[in-house]
């Protein structure tokens, strides 16, 4: 009976109650489970779609860029060269999209029940992580077939996904909150992600990028996710560069910005819809 809830107009300084988020972790799991079940329940092939879709992409890319355009890969078979970069990229872009649309998709729930709103983007992120882990298993098998047996370095892969979660969450939180009011941000996001796909060395190796542009090119946080992944799977040599520091700073900046933007917009989500 000592539970007291005081409801007041929102304070000027946006703040998320992270203790409350921690206390609601059971609900977070329920959200994640629901997201995973609901996504595949209605499909005949169910959960296999999460594998088939990237496999289809992989085949198209291998044909166009590997067999027709013959992009140099530094000696690696093109399919596995692409796939080892595609998986971190797909995780990043799906995580951004999933978190960015999480508020909008659940507006019916938000407008009827109170719970920490940040559970929605968090659960979207975890749902994508689940998908990516399955893809990761597929990647390991594929790499093995192409003659790259698994090594102890595979254990580092979750760290790569966690690292990519930081910029994904930062961008996703901002867009989720802002796009409730300004719907314009979601088509914009699709465009930006498309551009991001090309400025990240997925289809081609970084060696093709002019030397002079590399410091900026390598400040892209996803660049490091992709390169780490190739190092883990293909043992492609990895050169650390001061740009890594810049990209870590960008990650931190994105997350902080996402936090504040989300905290200041989440409360009006119900009113604007």
């Amino acid at each position: 009976m000592d539970d007291v809830r005081i409801i007041r107009p929102p304070s000027r300084i946006p703040k998320l109650d992270l203790g409350e988020v921690l206390r609601s972790r059971e609900l977070l799991w329920v959200f994640v489970r629901r997201g995973i079940f609901a996504r595949y329940r209605q499909m005949a092939l169910g959960i296999f779609w999460s594998l088939l879709e990237p496999l289809g992409l992989l085949i198209m890319m291998s044909v166009v860029f590997g067999m027709i355009l013959r992009v140099p890969t530094g000696g690696f078979p093109y399919p596995i060269f692409v796939f080892s970069a595609l998986i971190p990229w797909l995780y990043f872009s799906k995580a951004v999209n999933g978190t960015a649309s999480s508020l909008h998709e659940n507006i019916a729930i938000i407008s009827k029940i109170y719970f920490p709103r940040v559970l929605l983007p968090l659960s979207a992120l975890m749902r994508e992580m689940f998908d990516s882990l399955m893809l990761f298993v597929l990647l390991v098998v594929l790499a093995w077939i192409y003659g790259f047996p698994p090594s102890w370095k595979l254990l580092l892969m979750p760290i790569v996904l966690l690292y990519l979660s930081i910029p994904a969450l930062g961008i996703g939180l901002s867009v989720a909150a802002i796009s409730i009011r300004y719907r314009d941000f979601r088509p914009m996001l699709a465009l930006v992600l498309q551009a991001g796909f090309y400025v990240t060395p997925i289809l081609y190796p970084v060696a093709l990028v002019p030397e002079i542009a590399r410091p900026i090119y390598m400040a892209n946080p996803v660049y490091w996710g992709v390169e780490f992944s190739r190092w883990i799977i293909l043992d492609q040599p990895m050169t650390l560069h001061p740009s890594l520091i810049v990209s870590l700073l960008i990650c931190a900046g994105l997350l902080i910005a996402g936090y504040y933007i989300f905290a200041s917009y989440e409360r009006e989500a119900v009113d604007v819809q």
């Binding site: 059971e26 009827k112 029940i113 009011r181």
Partner: protein, 442 residues
């Protein structure tokens, strides 16, 4: 005042505003609305003036004691849902403060978050968790839910295959598990068929008996009156009335709360009186009717000697006098006095056309209706006055001016009906003699 500990909910000066800049632009549709759009999207850019805001709720204060059942009634758009949303923390207020003591469970909707592709069982877990029920508890009570909802083997079928009745019953059965100190309920009674409704009402009564504090909102003021201890009426975002649930019902049905300049004290308004000025009273309006002609000016009640009186014994003579002015329509030919009990059920219809003749009432005058013996039980009755045109040939009936709640009169049995007496809800009594015709001896 009661001690602070007794208060479960305290709301003070609560208000909620929305930015609606398009509101006046709409009146001037030729003008470009880019300014309004700009204001909507960038409130800081063009200074949003006070008129750009719409107050859905303003300056609402009330207290609910622990264990009390408090109702909120009001028309569509009166701010009921906004108030509940603020108290459920779904949306923040713009001003004021609310304090809720105890675990709050809020049901603004049953079946929130039900996903059509997921099975009943999966949805039960999700919906229950959203309501704040621990998973372990849901698991333990799953059988109870299945039985209560009557879903049976359909529990493992996706809910999109359910009939709408099954869907709602399952949703409500989860909600029934919610056991918090304060329950916020919005219209949840009005689901399912009659049998299930009775079940849910039983569930709510049980919650009340267990001493929970309940905040109950409904469009149906009768269910508020039957469940709640106290109630308030919201109108255009403001609290217009607060009192016992019964008074609130009478006030709500009278429509008086919509008018300014009336005494705010319900007891003052809901007291018997021997006359009423009808010019200020609310008119009954309906889209199918012409606008009220406002010819009804005054109603007075008199006894058999013609003296004004407001309280009568059952079976006494009662005379109603209606003063009217400015009847110009030659078709205007009837008056009627309609009597309702405190839950607004009609208990008597006194109609001038019952005599079989039209009244010639052009111009102004006073018409008297004499009831030689008014057979109504104990209680306070509301008098409605109607008048209009009736065509005796085609039996067409058009009300031209109707005051729904002109005044109240009080009836008391006082000897005519002894024994168990005759109450307000027991219909009309008729004087009756009782004698033994035959006694079979053993």
């Amino acid at each position: 005042m009661s001690s602070d500990d007794d208060i479960a909910i305290r709301v003070s000066g609560l208000g909620k505003r929305y930015l609606v800049p398009q509101r006046h632009e709409a009146s001037n549709s030729a003008a470009p609305d880019w300014r309004a759009r700009l204001k909507e999207f960038f409130p800081g850019l063009l200074s949003a003036s006070d008129t750009d805001y719409f107050w859905a709720l303003r300056d609402v204060s009330f207290e609910v004691k622990r264990g009390e059942v408090y109702g909120i009634v009001g028309d569509n758009g009166s701010g009921k849902s906004t108030l509940l949303k603020i108290l459920s923390a779904v949306t923040p207020p713009s001003e004021g403060e609310a304090l809720l003591r105890g675990r709050v469970g809020s049901l603004l909707e049953v079946g929130t978050g039900f996903h059509p592709d997921l099975t009943g069982r999966e949805n039960v877990f999700f919906n229950g968790s959203l309501l704040g029920i621990p998973q372990a508890e849901i698991r333990a009570k799953l059988n109870e839910i299945i039985t209560f909802s009557g879903i049976g083997e359909f529990i493992d079928v996706p809910v999109k295959r359910y009939s709408s009745g099954m869907y709602v019953r399952l949703a409500f059965s989860v909600a029934a598990l919610l056991q918090s100190d304060i329950m916020i309920l919005d219209e949840v009674l009005s689901v399912g068929d009659a049998a299930f409704r009775a079940k849910t009402e039983g569930g709510i009564k049980k919650a009340i008996d267990q001493g929970r504090t309940v905040l109950f909102v409904s469009h149906n003021p009768k269910s508020v009156a039957s469940i709640c201890d106290r109630a308030m009426i919201l109108h255009k975002g403001r609290k217009m009335f607060e009192g016992s649930a019964k008074d609130a019902l009478a006030e709500y049905l009278s429509g008086d709360y919509r008018h300014d300049g009336l005494p705010t004290d319900a007891n003052e308004r809901h007291r018997e009186s021997d006359h009423a000025d009808l010019t200020k009273k609310a008119r009954f309006q309906h889209p199918s009717l012409p606008a009220p002609s406002h010819v009804l000016k005054e109603l007075s009640v008199h006894d058999s000697t013609g003296a004004p009186r407001a309280s009568f014994k059952t079976g006494e003579e009662v005379r109603f006098r209606i003063r009217y002015e400015g009847i110009e329509d030659p078709a205007h030919n009837f008056f009627a006095v309609l009597i309702h009990n405190s839950v607004q059920e009609r208990v008597a219809t006194l109609h001038s056309t019952h005599t079989g003749r039209p009244l010639n009432v052009n111009g102004s005058g006073i018409i008297e209706c004499v009831v030689p013996s008014l057979m109504l039980g104990d209680g306070l009755y509301s008098i409605m006055v109607d008048s209009g045109a009736y065509d005796f040939r085609t039996r067409q009936h058009v009300s031209l001016d109707c005051v729904q709640h002109a005044l109240y009169i009080r009836m008391s049995n006082d000897g005519l009906f002894g024994g168990v007496g005759l109450g307000e809800f027991q219909g009309t009594g008729s004087p009756s003699q009782w004698s033994l015709l035959d006694r079979a001896s053993r």
